[in-house]
């Protein structure tokens, strides 16, 4: 090609290079809409409820959703199913969507039985350093409840990433929690540092950097490890052992996980419970959400929340009419999304309100992240 022709083609080539482009964004970070949306792509004409998702921040692209449904048994019994949910958010058009895709989650096949399976709760953190329990690396715990022995009890089993089963690892009853009454909906509570503590830690870290005193840093690290090693694991669950369903807290033995602790310290959370039924506690960071048909709601079971500050739970607050309805709202779960990606978290719950596909359906909505030790309620 002649040099003159090459020169003429240069601008065209430059323009073509710029053909692959991105648009100006209208939001710095994404937002889960506040509108309550029917999770239509996962719902069926049967009951779909008791969901669970990641309990630690996920990166905003996708998460595993597990929930209980009686769709496959024509309403006869509830089994767990799993979906891989891809979050699609457009910061330019400001649109939000979730694309769920049924996923093969072998652990669920291992758990499901001819009886009911409810209230799944997954942990994905079993690479722990300060517990004496022998666990396989890169495994998580899968808690659920089932009535396979007559009444509803809490069970657990270990699983590998991707939902793979661990050979020889069958679901086991958390016998130290279970009674002849109904128990279910276990969730763990890992206390998050308060703002004050976090600030103090930051200050300490800054001091360390300034002095560059390695010896002191090692000493402090050992202190932290010792403190962590004396940690006990705490969980919350529901039981009707005193007549109505209430929320209970169980604290494990020092240095042991909840399911392997022989003697648990179980306390009824009078502060969170009422004379009505209080069920399905679910904790992410320092926020507990649960369902209750106590007075002061919008009708039927409503969703409530409480915040953990300085070692105590705040008085439960109703989520209000933006989320609750005169029908039942059940089993709320918080899907925590990385704060630098999403401005808020997601709340998934079930409801038998009209407009769904039938029975209980799953719904999702945006939920403000906690800021410091307070929580801004939507619309308040």
């Amino acid at each position: 090609m002649q040099p003159s022709k090459k020169i003429l083609l240069l601008p065209l080539a430059l323009l073509l290079v710029h053909a692959c482009d991105r648009s100006r964004l209208n939001l710095d970070i994404a937002i889960v809409p506040r509108e309550v949306m029917n999770f239509a792509d996962v719902n069926s004409s049967r009951d779909d409820y008791n969901s669970a998702g990641p309990t630690v921040y996920f990166a905003g692209d996708g998460f595993t959703l597990v929930f209980s449904t009686n769709r496959d048994s024509n309403g006869a019994d509830f089994d767990l199913v799993s979906y891989q949910c891809v979050v699609n958010f457009d910061q330019m058009n400001i649109s939000f969507d979730i694309w769920p895709d049924p996923q093969d989650y072998p652990i669920i096949d291992n758990i499901n039985s001819m009886y009911n399976e409810w209230g799944p709760y997954l942990t994905d953190e079993l690479v722990e350093y300060y517990y004496e329990d022998e666990v396989l690396p890169d495994t998580g715990r899968f808690f659920f409840s089932s009535d396979r022995k007559g009444n509803q009890d809490i069970y657990y089993c270990y699983y590998s990433p991707g939902g793979a089963t661990i050979p020889g690892n069958q679901a086991v009853s958390v016998s130290s929690l279970n009674t002849e009454f109904e128990e279910g909906y276990l969730c763990l509570h890992q206390e998050m540092p308060t703002i004050k503590e976090a600030a103090a830690n930051q200050e300490m870290a800054a001091d360390q950097e300034a002095t560059a005193n390695q010896e002191m840093a090692v000493k402090q690290e050992m202190t932290v490890k010792q403190a962590a090693a004396s940690n006990t694991e705490t969980c919350y669950f529901t039981s009707d052992r005193e007549g109505t369903f209430d929320i209970y807290r169980a604290t494990g033995e020092a240095n042991r996980k909840i399911e392997t602790s022989g003697a648990l310290q179980i306390t009824k959370m009078d502060h969170l419970s009422s004379t009505a039924d209080d069920k399905c506690p679910y904790i992410v960071n320092n926020m507990m959400v649960f369902t209750s048909d106590r007075e002061g709601g919008q009708g039927g079971f409503d969703l409530w929340y409480s915040l953990y500050t300085d070692g105590t739970w705040s008085a439960p607050e109703n989520f209000g009419p933006e989320i609750n309805s005169e029908y039942d709202e059940y089993r709320p779960v918080i899907i925590p999304i990385q704060p630098d990606i999403f401005l808020n978290d997601m709340l998934i719950f079930s409801s038998n309100r009209p407009g769904g596909k039938g029975g209980f359906d799953l719904y999702y909505t945006g939920l403000n992240k906690r800021t410091g030790t307070s929580f801004t309620m939507q619309g308040k």
Binding site: L15, H18, D21, R24, L25, I29, A30, Q91
Partner: protein, 236 residues
């Protein structure tokens, strides 16, 4: 039997030949081969650059002003020429529509306020032009060129009383390859002076950095502007 059509010049070709190649007969053909022109007028965005919805690559640009200076050199027959051009354009940002879009998205979620600026473009280009024969001392000049434009994206900010700061785009500069095409109607007043009305389409695709967004993305803005100018020409 069909009659053979005579071998004649197609009418359109004939017209084009007359249009471009007829001998200059008007007085203005005595003008010099070089010209310097200045013009000013309005700059009107179009296409996606003027879109004012949160849709693909919407620019939210509103009409503004532009200034242009051009130096022209014609060939011997004064039909073809080359030019060099420098210009500046300022386009307003459609703040009202920008705010309306956020209000549409957030509905009753608090109140939203936006801060916006305007688009600045400083261009330098060179190109070719071709002019027609004069009719009553008036002729049409077609032109096209390429060059570079320094584009400045305005600072944008949107704050919602419920969500807080929802968007910030810092002002940013980019030097970008540009292309123009236009038509100009020029009327010669005397041997040295003329006036003209011009219409020019300007296109470029600058890239800017949105440092405040998650993962600090670079975005491209397809700039499309129509300049409608009135100006003076000095022949020398």
């Amino acid at each position: 039997m069909k009659k053979q059509a005579p071998n004649t010049i197609p009418p359109l070709l004939l017209l084009a030949l007359v249009f471009f190649c007829a001998s200059p007969v008007s007085a203005q053909e005595t003008i010099n081969r070089n010209a310097l022109s200045f013009s000013a007028g309005t700059a009107v965005p179009f296409d996606e650059f003027a879109y004012s919805r949160f849709t693909y690559r919407a620019g939210f640009a509103q009409p503004g002003v532009n200034l242009d200076a051009k130096i022209i050199h014609y060939g011997k027959r004064k039909i073809f020429g080359i030019y060099a051009d420098a210009g500046y354009a300022y386009l307003f940002f459609n703040e009202k529509r920008y705010l309306a879009e956020y209000e549409r998205i957030f509905e009753d979620e608090g109140t939203t306020s936006v801060t916006t600026g305007g688009y600045h473009f400083l261009k330098a280009e060179a190109g070719f032009l071709i002019r027609t024969i004069a009719i009553r001392d008036t002729r049409i000049i077609l032109q096209t060129g390429v060059g570079y434009t320094l584009c400045r994206h305005p600072y944008l900010s949107a704050v919602n009383s419920y969500w807080g700061v929802v968007n910030t785009v810092n002002s940013d500069l980019d030097l970008q390859l540009t292309g123009t095409a236009g038509v100009r109607v020029e009327h010669t007043l005397d041997e040295y002076t003329g006036i003209h009305l011009s219409y020019q389409v300007f296109a470029c695709k600058p890239s800017f950095m949105d440092r405040e967004s998650y993962r600090a993305v670079t975005f491209y803005l397809p700039v499309r502007i129509q300049n409608i100018n009135f100006g003076l020409t000095r022949y020398f």
